[in-house]
Amino acid sequence: MSEPAPVLALVEVSKAFGAVRALTGVSLELRAGEVHALAGENGAGKSTLVKTFAGVHRPDSGRILLDGEPVVFHGPADAQHAGIAVIYQEPTLFPDLSVAENIFMGRQPRAALGRIDRRTMHARAAELFARLGVTLDPRRPARGLSIADQQVVEIAKAISRDAKVQIMDEPTAALTAQETARLFTVVRALREHGCALLFISHRLEEIFELCQRVTTLRDGRLVASEPVAGLTADDLVNRMVGRELDLYPKQDVAPGEVVLRVSRLTREGAFADVSFEVRRGEIVALAGLVGAGRTEVARAVFGIDRPDAGEVVVDGRRLRPASPIAAMAAGLALVPEDRRQQGLIMEMSIERNLGLTRLRALRRGPFISRALERAHARDWAVRFQLKYGRTDDAAGVLSGGNQQKLVLAKWLSTEPAVLIVDEPTRGIDVGTKAEVHRLLSELAAQGLAVLMISSDLPEVLAMADRILVMHEGRLTAELPGGEATEESVMTAATGRRGKDAA
């Protein structure tokens, strides 16, 4: 009476990136005719797990079983040949090729002599779009598609593969309610066809609506794998959050006067007519989907990109546009999203990285003093409880969380009036995450104005005094921190106000 072997399974899989352990001994079984949900907070290891199935990452230890037999995927092509189709969280399309070519790359319908049958290809693409309930011209290039349409193309690509395993990493994140409903119809049809599906969504109601089993990850470890029936949303949240760590130690602060005022800021093609202000002592979150234009706003405010219209006022004085130097002089600091590429110079030592924003202050005569630099680094390392070997170690050897603390220290050492942080806790472990939150909260209590861009909804809800939501380049909502819910933020972020009243 044993069940048939799972179509695809992970057995005791571990994967680490440098010092960060993304997955530790995780097992997961996908069965034919079943939609399996994968739940967990950001950074729990969901995307790493998806990429392991997809052949993008190879596990450090553990096995992948296909129909009960161990397999090794050397690359995405291997996984595809094994019948695994993947929708990645972030769409990866060929901007210069047509939408139809994007869907059928490598599997184009053929005419005589092995030529591509373009007419059939376009017809099949149109058919897929009809099935998904969207109107997209298969002939247009993928360049310039909105995030939602890009996601639709990714979905069409995956379901056109007739794969026996479908893996969907947050396919609904950018979709409207109608498109989501269509996708669910398609997913159910695939399931009845005997397909095995892995479905990831941060919207719990979608998991309950669509899935039969749910596996929960926390900090890269398996928490539970169980049938959805009989579970409640609270059960699931408990499994995801688990420990009673105070992840969001937010102090209440009475906001002071306005420090940063952004009015009608516009950069064509990125964002339009963005106005907001941030007060002393306040943490203002900028929420929205990936690609909504949040990072672009931060870059324009800090003077990296030149805005086409609008102005930025700091402490009552208008900021010279497109000049990071002017922004720094006015008391702005920006902790960028990508700390490896933009936040730190990975090959450079910890002390040098820390000194970069303070080069003038670290001079003795015309030259930079190594001694001052080192003392400065030691001082900040202690303040931030940085875990490091020596201050002249390269920044690259630090763990992700400590790197993030280093970037924060680098900018806070300029004693800014306004701190802009872009995804401050992406990809760092829960312990450090709590530390970063405590730090931001303390700084705000001391009168710093904080603008926090974050895709981590629980973080936004718990840390922010006010929440600004962006959708496709525009501010669509401003919600007081106390009253906002995941629902209200997501509704504004997907631009489906009033649509899903039912």
Binding site: P76, A77, T92, P95, M105, Q108, R140, R143, G144
Partner: protein, 346 residues
């Protein structure tokens, strides 16, 4: 009800936009043709001798080898790489095959096979270094440019191949014709049509564009990136080898320094022809037209008795113009597409 009323207008709109898209995509080939026609018309008006049968034939003969190299270069550039070694390969092949046939009284077939073999081998080395070792193409092919040049000088040792020693059959290939159409342009056009058709109509051909358009997406889509990049370099090498043999056939007299500096001319022709230097966009038709345009400009300057040092400056200006136009078109295109999204959004 709504479906009835919206469907036809939507279709009409899609059709209009499609023709607009097509126009923008073909704009490059059309605009080069336009520039060519204007250039030739103006020059012919000033100096009617320019359009003599001999003058026209010379332009096509001169453009053929450049066009062949540009076709090979297109292959490489659309995968977001570059091949700077082609000029040196032409020089080496021209000399070595010349040496081979003059010393042993060898045949035309031998020369062609040897040329293709040498060119293919050079392409293979470039391709392996770029695709397997992951060394940036610019550095790899800059290195092989000098190595192959050095090899050429070593083999030549200051000697020269004389036309008198080259088999007549080979020289005929360079200057002969069939039904009044010279061989050289015919070869270039046939290669262009074959390669153009392959790149457009075959799944593996589209993969070259995919790699250049987004290497990351290509990897996730399971495109065999290494194999395709390797193929692109081998094709470029083979065509450079063919170019070397044709060089020998056309000029007969060959020294070690032949085709010196041609790599930049080839890259210019490709870029002027609308192949994006960042990959993913462009056709061999455009590249071949670019080669024809650059060659024509050279001839026009001679006919108009303009000092020859202006030629390089003019080609440089053309290059800058081409890139500016590309950028402008791309921006417009993005804006058009984005506006269309806004209308679709409901």
């Amino acid at each position: 009800m709504t479906a009835l009323t919206t469907a036809p207008s939507a279709r009409a709109k899609a059709g209009r936009e499609r023709s607009l898209l097509d126009l923008v995509l073909r704009a490059r080939e059309l605009s080069i043709l336009g520039v060519l026609v204007v250039l030739v018309a103006v020059t012919a008006a000033i100096n009617p001798g320019f359009l003599s049968a001999q003058g026209v034939e010379d332009i096509f003969l001169n453009a053929s080898i450049l066009a062949l190299l540009a076709i090979g270069q297109t292959f490489v550039v659309i995968t977001r790489n570059i091949d700077l070694s082609v000029g040196s390969v032409v020089g080496l092949v021209a000399f070595v095959t010349g040496d081979l046939v003059s010393a042993q009284g060898g045949s035309m077939t031998l020369a062609i096979l040897a040329g293709l073999a040498i060119g293919g081998a050079c392409g293979l080395v470039n391709g392996l270094l770029v695709s397997l070792c992951g060394v940036p193409a610019l550095v790899v092919t800059l290195g092989t440019l000098y190595v192959i040049q050095g090899l050429d000088h070593f083999v030549a040792h200051g000697r020269q191949i004389n036309a008198a020693d080259v088999p007549q059959a080979l020289l005929d290939l360079g200057s002969g014709n069939v039904l009044g159409v010279p061989y050289l342009p015919m070869i270039a056009v046939l290669v262009m049509l074959a390669v153009g058709y392959y790149l457009r109509s075959y799944p593996s051909g589209r993969e070259f564009y995919a790699i250049g358009s987004s290497p990351e997406a290509a990897r996730l889509a399971g495109v065999p990136i290494r194999r395709r990049v390797l193929t692109a370099y081998v094709v470029s090498g083979l065509l450079a080898g063919a170019g070397g043999v044709l060089w020998l056939a056309r000029f007969g007299t060959v020294i070690a320094d032949n085709a010196h500096g041609w790599e930049l001319k080839v890259v210019s022709a490709v870029v002027v022809g609308g192949v994006a230097i960042v990959g993913g966009v462009g056709t061999v038709y455009g590249a071949a037209l670019g080669a024809l345009l650059l060659t024509t400009i050279g001839s026009v300057l001679v006919v108009l008795k303009v000092n020859s040092f202006w030629q390089d400056a003019l080609i440089g200006a053309l290059l800058l113009l081409a890139i500016s136009v590309d950028r402008l078109l791309a921006l417009r295109m993005t804006r058009i597409l984005r506006r269309r999204n806004a209308r679709h959004a409901t």
